[in-house]
Symmetry: C2
Subunit: 349 residues, 2 copies
């Protein structure tokens, strides 16, 4: 509310993009509506974003934006509504077939976007990415364009207070995967490394405490870490963990953050021989003595691994190896390397 004037800078008619339930339950939607009323901004609500939204969802939201004559978009929620809001902002101003949507060059500037994260993991509030499920390619595909960086993000950890422990852990692991993959990306810079180290400092202190009651300070720390880690991947991109995780989400319906975490330890072990001293800096920033201790921490956070067959693993590897972000890994990766990492990470059935 006290920052409501920041919304008035974006336009005069908003489309609020969110999911069906959580933005109502955690108070974020009511706060945004109050801020819009205070500023005299008209708005419509599109609350049909499902988890892991696809292109069709974005098209439906864009139709709602056009019908409402919206001149800006407010995304409220976890990564799914925020990423949907970005794609909606593009499609409300551009008629694009699926292929051109992912080519990242839009004839008309997308609608301006405000973001209100209600989970602490995605970092979407500070990135130029919109990740959409792509049924044709059987994976997730990303729009990546400077033009969809949110103009403003509101980080209030109170909206994350009611998240169940499982969601808190999975989203925190998502943030960790952003900091870890971005820090070890070939596109990392001194700028992204600063954000990564700060995120790893926060996560190293927070992750061991994620059980039972999670107080407001710890919640704020997770939300700060998530946005910092989002800034890391905005600069440095994600790498193999995300490429491999998308298959686990698409075929096994494993939560995105958890999917990224499942392969993390094996990926880092794969990198270890060629990536000192950066791997040591990563562990030091986490306050963890060695890779084995990070593996133990991840095991305790993730619990039992899901079962997959070898045939499934081969299929996932054949899809993942084609992902662009594999090229960001700081060691050359072949399809067989991905098979080995999946095997070391999952329960083979």
């Amino acid at each position: 509310m006290e920052h409501s004037a920041l919304l008035a800078r974006l336009g005069t008619k908003a489309l609020v993009v969110t999911g069906a339930h959580s933005a109502r339950a955690n108070g974020s939607l009511a706060d945004v509506e109050a801020a819009l009323r205070k500023e005299g901004i008209a708005y419509a609500i599109y609350d049909k974003v499902p988890p892991n939204p696809g292109i069709a969802d974005a098209r439906e939201g864009a139709a709602a934006a056009i019908e409402a004559h919206a001149d800006f978009v407010i995304g409220i929620g976890g990564g799914s509504p925020l990423d949907a809001a970005k794609a909606i902002a593009v499609l409300a101003r551009n008629q694009l077939d699926d292929e051109r949507l992912f080519q990242n060059a839009f004839p008309n500037a997308p609608l301006p976007i405000a973001a209100v994260p209600t989970t602490a993991g995605t970092g979407s509030e500070v990135t130029q990415y919109s990740i959409l499920t792509n049924a044709r390619l059987e994976t997730k595909t990303s729009i990546a364009s400077e033009s969809i960086f949110p103009k403003v993000a509101f980080l209030d950890a109170a909206y994350t207070a009611s998240l169940p422990l499982r969601v808190t852990v999975n989203t925190a692991v998502d943030a960790l995967s952003h900091a870890v993959e971005g820090f070890l990306s070939v596109k990392a810079t001194a700028f992204s490394d600063g954000m990564a180290i700060s995120a790893l400092n926060l996560l190293g202190a927070a992750l061991p405490k994620l059980s039972g009651d999670i107080g407001p300070e710890l919640r704020q720390s997770l939300l700060d870490a998530s946005s910092l880690a989002g800034m890391v991947i905005a600069q440095a991109g994600t790498t193999a963990g995300h490429a491999m995780g998308y298959s686990l989400t698409f075929f096994k319906d494993i939560d995105h953050g958890r999917a990224n975490g499942l392969t993390m330890a094996a990926y880092l072990e794969f990198l270890a021989d060629q990536n000192e001293p950066k791997l040591s800096r990563l562990l030091a920033a986490l306050g963890i003595p060695h890779l084995g201790a990070l593996k133990e921490l991840l095991d305790s956070l993730l619990g039992e691994r899901e079962g997959v067959s070898l045939a499934e693993i081969k299929k996932y590897a054949s899809i993942s190896i084609k992902a662009k972000n594999i090229g960001n890994a700081p060691k050359k990766m072949a399809e067989g390397d991905l098979v080995a990492i999946y095997r070391a990470s999952m329960k083979i059935v």
Copy 2:
């Protein structure tokens, strides 16, 4: 040149703001002119910014901007031309007396600003600050407004290649003072801390190497550190080092970066009893074992201290204690504390 399109986004007629000589000598002005010609952008050059510019200089530059019908400003140089460019951008669009200039709320949006740093220290290319000498108050006074954040900055260490060793050291110490003061500011956040740690990592490795020949990699490292440290103070502000340094510059004509460095060790010793563990994190990020070793490094970089009398010190302390940034120090400071820090830092004559 390859990024010239970024200038075309800002407008169609530029005022290029720079000093009399260095932008011509280091090739930056020629590169900017070539980029403007390539984009078909008309421009005028205002090359009269002196070191430590004052309000009158900014007014003269603003008159040049108005006369040229400039719709954006490009600052090229060290902190003086960049800070002047920001004040010119404000005054070209706003008729303000001196007092209102420093009240940071402008009826009309300043002209958009592009920044091309040719030293590695000020960080002005990424801050919302314009520091101008204020003859009436006998110190420097700052404009601080989101509206003067440069829209784009071009970081090319080649423009710093010909800087004399003395300037390289003084500007590197300026960057260090930004990272150190911002990291220990009461306004520091997880976001600014990440940038600070990355800047301190780079500076800790670079500072001991600043003698004799300085190669391109070291130059780029200093420029990255300078911009990172600029982002730190954009968030967390500066503290006592800057407040005390302004008097040394105003009355003794001591270079700004050097002035900030002269009092640094004594300031950190003053803070030490109340600021663990942050002081330890600072030294660890620099790769320096203890405060004494940082003092030795600064002594070797700064050489012999300038002489000041006790009467002068008392005067400086009485001015510095009124600076707003004293309030950012993480320990309460009285005028007597400033006297003691000046005494420990200067040669008393």
